[in-house]
């Protein structure tokens, strides 16, 4: 599993102002801490960056690469800012992200700068409703990228994870299903997810259970990478293959096994309950671990 740290984000209370004031210290400290926590890439989310986004992205790429040799995932919806970042990035950057709406102007950037890219599966009519709609969007993006000479190996599809808290829009299962069919429809393509979105809206101290469990579930179907909270050490351990018994338990529950509750530790029980909430077998409530 390739991990991309999500923490350098304009929404953060320390990073937002630091970006605005061009204050390198908090940004570099966080970048170093993320790298030490063991992630492989660092996501730089500067938001839409409508004003002077190019100058901001150039500055933040240089600032972060000044203190770490990790590759960066450049996360903005502003193509001018994206290009400015790609220009100064050492080695290969990851473009986060390109969707159908802006592929004509952004796919050439991936080619020109030999960057990897996240293909965001956001449809022309908004959020895809099932795995099949995700597949259709993926194929269209892939063909267009291939035409420009971008190989499948450089495309990381993001099926768009939604919060489990909201029953109306819960897409946890379609994302799993998409992951299971990805290699058939787009051989060689990679995958990634904005993992923490699955727990958006849940009580902060319980979010890691949803994040870790869902990551294990996606890994079962070959998830290649995830954008994650770099400071959840247990999640990093799971991704590194250091919790095989936990992974095994989650997979067994996904396969329909109903482990005897008395045979499970308190910790294991939490993972079992979380699988059931994510699949929709149990309806989510903030106290899902208690009932």
């Amino acid at each position: 599993m390739v991990l991309i740290g999500e923490n350098l984000n304009i929404m953060s209370k320390t990073i937002g102002p630091a970006l605005k004031e061009r204050n390198p210290k908090p940004i570099q400290e966080l970048a170093k801490a993320e790298a030490e926590a063991g992630v492989d890439y660092l996501d730089l989310n500067i938001g839409p960056a409508r004003k002077a986004g190019d100058e901001l992205m150039e500055w933040v790429v240089k600032t972060v690469q000044g203190v770490t040799d990790k590759s960066l995932s450049l996360d903005t919806t502003n193509p001018v800012a994206m290009e400015a970042g790609l220009k100064v990035h050492k080695d290969r950057a990851l473009i986060n992200s390109i969707s159908l709406a802006r592929m004509d102007e952004e796919l050439p950037l991936a080619k020109k700068y030999n960057a990897e890219m996240v293909g965001l599966l956001w449809g022309r009519e908004g959020m895809p409703r099932d795995a099949a709609e995700r597949g259709v969007i993926a194929v269209e993006l892939m063909y267009k990228a291939n035409e420009l000479g971008i190989p499948n190996e450089d495309i990381w599809f993001d099926p768009i994870v939604t919060p489990v808290v909201n029953i109306e829009s819960n897409q946890a299962k379609p994302c799993l299903e998409f992951m299971s069919m990805l290699q058939d429809i787009a051989p060689g393509c990679k995958s990634t997810v904005g993992l923490s979105n699955v727990s958006n809206g849940a009580p902060t101290h319980l979010r890691p259970y949803l994040n870790r469990t869902y990551m294990i579930m996606l890994m079962k179907y070959g998830l290649y990478s995830a954008i994650v909270d770099a400071f959840d050490p247990e999640l990093v351990r799971i991704a590194r293959g250091e919790r095989p018994e936990l992974v095994d338990l989650v997979e067994r529950v996904m396969d329909g096994e109903k482990p005897d509750p008395s045979s499970l530790s308190e910790e294991e029980t939490k993972y079992v309950k979380t699988v059931r909430v994510i699949t929709g077998e149990t309806l989510y409530s903030h106290s899902w671990l208690e009932v």
Binding site: V165, S285, H286
Partner: protein
């Protein structure tokens, strides 16, 4: 091959909750199938209607709604008795409108005294509905619980923000609580869990999913209630197996469509008929979604709903 009609696989049952006490106590819930799916399961207790009484004379009611209660709207006791004796109400819902901090702001002691008088004057179950202001409801409903001990009232709305203090009083004086959440199934489940953690017994809980009327988002209420029934009946979700109560009349009768006189907009038709139909049809939609108790206002709207229920359940 013989065609077989597909049948829903039910694994759960809605809890039976007894409201009130004595001979006129009313039991609701107990369904083992989707609402009125009598070809798939049982509905031992048909939906019940509680008639609405205000604790102060209404200022903004449409003429059509006031007409059946002429002469009693300034006396909640007389009003409640009229509903029971003249209109055959199976339950009364006393709306404590006078306690609204943004209105008359009547104090807890005085409000509780009125509740006690009404409770003493009728033998059918009494629902007591506050103003959804957490601080004021805590004060008022706690007092009501105390003053009316032994009456087995049904009190609400009890929301996440005031569930501990009102819930504790309900446990102490043995009243049923109305667990109320803003049209959200996850929050509804959560509040039921919290009430359980507090020690409120399951047989003293009834769920208010929050309702609105036709033309004002009733589809959304319908979906949430329908989903609650699916979770309770087919997914064994014990925290979503409570009967549902819908405070619908005030929603229907506050719409602008009910208040426009026919002279102003002739194509809307007769104003009286319009209000009655809006209330009756909204209630019927909510019953089809799984509502067990409807709080209603107009005797003719109630009559219509009772007729439809009778027709849909005739064997």
């Amino acid at each position: 091959m013989v065609f077989e009609i597909p049948k829903t696989a039910y694994s759960g049952k809605i809890r039976e909750v007894k409201l009130g006490s004595g001979e006129k106590a009313v039991t609701v819930g107990g369904e083992t199938c989707y609402p009125l799916y009598l070809f798939e399961g049982e509905m031992p207790n048909l939906p019940k209607i509680a008639m609405e009484v205000w604790d102060m004379p209404p200022q903004d009611w449409a003429e059509a709604a006031l007409e059946p209660f002429a002469g009693v709207t300034d006396d909640p006791v007389a009003w409640a008795k009229k509903c029971v004796e003249d209109y055959g109400a199976e339950m009364i819902c006393l709306q404590l409108v006078s306690t609204d901090p943004n209105g008359l702001d009547r104090g807890a002691d005085e409000a509780a005294e009125v509740v006690k008088k009404v409770a003493d004057a009728i033998d059918v179950p009494l629902i007591v509905w506050g103003t959804a202001n957490h601080e004021k409801d805590t004060e008022v409903l706690r007092k009501v619980c105390e003053v009316c001990r032994g009456k087995n009232l049904i009190i609400g709305p009890v929301e996440e923000g005031d569930h501990k203090r009102i819930g504790a009083a309900a446990i102490g004086y043995h009243h049923t609580v109305i667990a109320s959440t803003p049209i959200d199934i996850n929050l509804a489940k959560q509040l039921n869990i919290l009430l359980g953690n507090l020690g409120v017994p399951d047989e003293l809980i009834i769920t208010d999913p929050t309702t609105s009327c036709i033309g004002y988002g009733i589809e959304y209420c319908y979906s949430v209630m329908e989903r609650m029934r699916m979770a309770g009946l087919t997914q064994q979700d014990e925290k979503l197996q409570f009967p549902l109560i819908c405070n619908i009349s005030k929603e229907a009768w506050k719409t602008k469509e009910v208040h426009i006189p026919m002279e102003e907009d002739p194509k809307l038709g007769d104003a009286k008929k319009r209000g009655i139909l809006l209330e009756a049809m909204s209630a019927m939609v909510l019953i089809l979604a799984g509502g067990d108790v409807m709080i209603m206002r107009h005797p003719e709207a109630i009559k219509l709903v009772r007729e439809v229920i009778a027709e849909l359940t005739a064997s």
